[in-house]
Structures are given as structure tokens and as C-alpha cells.
């Protein structure tokens, strides 16, 4: 059995079906990318795994346990943590408070101080800004807080929703570097991206999502070479 196993889920947004018979799996320690354009259903997929949405049919298993009708809080408690699209920081709270809220779940709360040290080591800049109000940070710093906040929850599986969105190219590079570092420390990463090149280069495997269906899957290196991907997503 895989670490995370998504089996033939169908997800609706109101009356509109967004995801069709989608299956995928993530193994422990892997970095897996899901790539696709806007509206392909990437965010919906992550929200479904986080149980913000529930599939109309199909199943999701994590560490062999079924995530049927679980609440988002239970998902976090089990170790699946999502860093949402657009950062979604608690804008009027300080960096410190944002991070501490990240360690809200009981599993993480005990090791809050330890996590904080780790996060500050990874992002020294945040340590300098610890009492600054999140809203006043720059875009890159905000993305750091978002990822750090996710790490504070001590994830077994970290899901990142378009971490490169709205960042200058140079920042994108460093964010992806950070993600690789997180993976190297042993956290499984599920990455959702539009930036095909960067994300596939740091991933082990990848899925291509098109119109709510898996259009392709395979080793990241293979996908990068695939002519269809190049044509459709890299604009070559």
C-alpha cells in the first residue's frame, strides 16, 4: 500500500464536476509534482485531500487509513499539511503568531519550540522579522512564512499549492531550493505547480492534470523530456 493513495475520486464544485475518476499515489519520502494549467483541478484535488471538499465517489487513503468524511482538522492531525495557494497568511498577526498557529494541532503543539528553531534555521530572515505583522512583509517573505507555518505543523506529507505564484523568477528559484531541502530532510512532498520546469526538476515523479483527469504520469525526468508536455505546457 502506498503512503497516500487516491482512488478514482469524482469531485464536484456545486453542480460542476471538476475532477473525474482521478487516481494517484505518493510513496513515503517522494517528491511528487502535479502540473497543469489553471482550472485543471489542481487546487480542487489538494482541497479534497485536505478534506475541505469531499469526493462524491472514490476513496483516499493515508497510511492505510481511509479519509472518509474526515474534517480538515483531523487531516492535519494525521500529518497531511497543506500550504495553500496565495499564501493565505493571517494578515494582522505577527510572524511569530502565524508560526505558532501552525503548530496548533496536538501532535505538533508539544514540539513547538523545537519546530520553531528548525524553521528559523531554515529561514533566518524570519527570525529577524519575528514580531513584524505578516501583512507588511514582502511577497517572498510571505511565502517563506507560509511554508514555515506549514512545517510548524510537523507534516508527514507536505502539500504545496503553487508556491511560485506571483513571485519574481529569482525568488521562485530559491523557493524551489527550499522545497528540495525540506524533502531531503525526510518529509514527503506533494507539489502542485504551473511552473513545469522547476517543479519537475526537483521531483521524483509527476502527474499531468488536464480538465480534471490525469493525462500523463511517470518519472519526472521522463516527463520533462516528453514532447507532448513541451508542446502543451512549456510553449515551445
Amino acid at each position: 500500500m502506498s503512503f497516500l493513495e487516491v482512488e478514482e475520486i469524482n469531485v464536484f464544485y456545486g453542480d460542476v464536476q471538476v475532477i473525474f475518476d482521478l487516481s494517484l499515489h505518493v510513496e513515503e519520502g517522494e517528491v511528487v509534482s502535479i502540473i497543469g494549467g489553471n482550472g485543471a483541478g489542481k487546487s480542487t484535488l489538494l482541497k479534497t485531500i485536505s478534506c475541505l471538499l469531499h469526493p462524491q465517489s472514490g476513496q483516499i487513503r493515508f497510511e492505510n487509513a481511509l479519509l472518509q468524511n474526515a474534517t480538515p482538522e483531523e487531516i492535519v492531525a494525521r500529518g497531511i499539511v497543506q500550504v495553500p495557494e496565495g499564501r493565505r497568511l493571517f494578515s494582522l498577526m505577527s510572524v511569530y503568531d502565524n508560526l505558532v498557529v501552525g503548530a496548533y494541532n496536538r501532535r505538533a503543539a508539544g514540539s513547538q519550540e523545537e519546530s520553531l528553531q528548525q524553521v528559523y534555521t531554515m529561514f533566518p530572515r524570519l527570525k529577524e522579522r519575528t514580531s513584524q505583522i505578516a501583512m507588511t512583509l514582502s511577497g517572498g517573505e510571505q511565502q517563506m512564512v507560509a511554508i514555515a507555518r506549514g512545517l510548524m505543523a510537523r507534516p508527514k506529507l507536505l502539500m504545496l499549492d503553487e508556491p511560485s505564484l506571483g513571485l519574481a523568477p529569482v525568488l521562485i528559484k530559491s523557493i524551489f531550493k527550499t522545497i528540495r531541502a525540506i524533502a531531503d530532510q525526510g518529509t514527503t512532498v506533494l507539489l502542485v505547480e504551473q511552473d513545469v520546469n522547476h517543479s519537475l526538476s526537483l521531483s521524483d515523479r509527476g502527474y499531468v492534470l488536464e480538465h480534471g483527469r490525469i493525462a500523463m504520469e511517470g518519472q519526472a525526468a521522463h516527463l520533462l523530456e516528453d514532447p507532448h508536455i513541451k508542446a502543451a505546457y512549456l510553449g515551445l
Binding site: S50, L52, T71, P72, E73, I75, V76, A77, V81, Q82, P84, R88, L89, F90, S91, L92, M93, D97, N98, V100, V101, G102, Y104, N105, A108, A109, R149, A153
Partner: protein
């Protein structure tokens, strides 16, 4: 001059109690983004609980705190959990669900009239409580002792709530939820539990206000209505969602009510309060202490 000073002191004391009655309203709005029209009725329920706790046991009125606060906390907790939560679930997409306003108004009608059914329309006041009619004499000035305690209660309650929100795990979770419900969920925070707790805290603070009122105020089924509109005005003056704003807003209303009648008939002070309220709304819509942040 001494008159004005005396009136000013009374205005500040009574006003801080008004602020305390409105504190829960501002807390609940800050977190749930909903105006709780039943807040006055919650205050009324708190007054009945305090009244009976004291009348049946003969406790010192302020000892009722230990009964009223937990009772009111769980009362608010479960009112939100059982009645208001379903609406939030049904209207997930809406930021300020107007339907909740109707539901809280429904709760208002039910609570007031249920109380009428249970306890009748009688006016009750704690007869032989040690605080009754206690006045502090300072020269020619007379200052009401229960009101003075009310002022202390208001400041202490507001400070405790403030510290709770700033420094505790749950307090941060509540603030996080008020800023971004979905992101808070993704951090493992149960949004509805936070709502329940915030509603509980809001209601419990109405309970504290009830305790400060009971030694010198009448208890009857429709007493909450008197404080309802006053509460709305106070929280908007102070800035919806601002804890200290509620206390300051209350004191402003208290001062107007206390000082203005010395220069005109008391009936005109109401008009002044409404006028000032509209003026503040037009000039600084986020209130005196409100964050210039779009709720």
C-alpha cells in the same frame, strides 16, 4: 464645576458597564463576522441566572461569578453549536451571512418570551445584597460603589480577554480563524469549535456584565432590549471587533448620557447619541479603534 465632575465620574463608571455589556457583541462580531441580535437577551439570561444564584443561596452577589460565567459560557457555546452553526455550514461561501442576523433575532424573541413564560413579567431586584445603595462619599460627591466595581470588572474583563486572545494557543487560533477561516482549517483549527468558544466567551462576558448590573438594576424579561441598541452603537463607535473600542465606546455613551442632561432634558440625550453615532459612521466608518481592514 463639582457637578460636572460628579456627572463625569458617573458617566465613566456607567459607560464602562455599557462597554462591558457590549464586549461580547464585539468579540462575536470579530470572529464570526455576525451581529448577534440576541446579545441583549443573553445579558437578560445572565441577569436571571445571577439573580437566582444569589436569591437561592444568599451568596454575595459577586460570588455568583462562579456560577454565572460557566453557565453563560456553555449556554453561548451550545446556542452557537446547535442553532447558528447549521447556518454557517449551509452558507459556507458567504462572508457575512445575513441569515444569521435573522436567526439571532429569532433567538432573541424566543429567549425573551420563554423567560416571560417561566418567570412571569415581574420586576425583580436583589433586596438585601450588601452592595445595594452603597455610595462612596468624596466631599459633596457621591459615587456608586456597585458601579465602581462594574468599572473594575469592565477593565479586568477586557484586559483578560485581550491577553487571552494575544497570548494563548486558543486565543491565537481564534484570531487566525477571524482573519482567514479556510487557512485556519488547514492549520488544524476546527473553525466551528472556535466559533463555539468565541460565542461562549462573548456570552460569558455578558454574564459578567449581568453580575455587575444585578446589585442595582431590575431584572425582567425584556430588560435585554434596553441594552441591545446601546450595544450596537457602542461597538460601531469603538470599531467592530475591537475589545478596547467597546469599553471606550461605552464610556463615550455613558458620558453623553450623564453630562448632557444637565444642559437639556434627558430625552434629548438619546437624539445626541444617535446623531453622534451617524456622524462617526460617516467620518470614520471603521469606528474609533477599528482596524482599517475590511472585515
Amino acid at each position: 464645576m463639582i457637578f460636572v465632575l460628579e456627572d463625569t465620574i458617573n458617566g465613566i463608571l456607567m459607560g464602562s458597564i455599557y462597554g462591558l455589556t457590549a464586549l461580547g457583541l464585539t468579540i462575536i462580531f470579530g470572529v464570526l463576522k455576525v451581529i448577534n441580535f440576541a446579545h441583549g437577551s443573553m445579558l437578560m439570561v445572565g441577569m436571571y441566572v445571577a439573580y437566582w444564584a444569589v436569591a437561592l443561596t444568599g451568596l454575595h452577589p459577586y460570588m455568583a461569578l462562579f456560577v454565572v460565567v460557566p453557565v453563560m459560557f456553555f449556554f453561548g457555546y451550545y446556542v452557537q453549536d446547535l442553532i447558528i452553526k447549521p447556518i454557517f455550514k449551509a452558507e459556507k461561501e458567504v462572508r457575512e451571512p445575513i441569515t444569521v442576523i435573522i436567526v439571532t433575532t429569532g433567538i432573541w424573541y424566543i429567549l425573551d418570551n420563554l423567560t416571560l413564560l417561566l418567570f412571569g413579567p415581574d420586576y425583580r431586584i436583589l433586596q438585601d445584597n450588601p452592595l445595594r445603595g452603597k455610595m462612596l462619599e468624596a466631599g459633596q460627591m457621591l459615587i456608586s460603589v456597585p458601579k465602581l466595581w462594574g468599572f473594575c470588572a469592565a477593565v479586568v474583563t477586557a484586559a483578560s480577554v485581550y491577553v487571552f486572545f494575544q497570548k494563548t494557543r486558543m486565543g491565537r487560533a481564534i484570531r487566525a480563524t477571524s482573519l482567514d477561516r479556510e487557512a485556519a482549517s488547514l492549520m488544524g483549527i476546527n473553525q466551528y469549535k472556535v466559533y463555539n468558544i468565541a460565542f461562549g466567551i462573548g456570552t460569558a462576558s455578558a454574564g459578567i456584565a449581568a453580575i455587575t448590573l444585578v446589585p442595582f438594576f431590575n431584572v425582567y424579561p425584556t430588560v435585554g432590549v434596553l441594552f441591545d441598541i446601546k450595544g450596537f452603537i457602542i461597538v460601531v463607535l469603538g470599531g467592530l471587533g475591537s475589545i478596547w473600542g467597546a469599553i471606550v465606546g461605552g464610556i463615550i455613551i455613558g458620558l453623553i448620557e450623564s453630562v448632557a442632561p444637565q444642559f437639556m432634558t434627558a430625552t434629548w440625550t438619546e437624539a445626541i447619541v444617535y446623531g453622534l453615532f451617524l456622524l462617526v459612521l460617516f467620518v470614520k466608518p471603521s469606528g474609533l479603534f477599528g482596524v482599517k481592514y475590511d472585515w
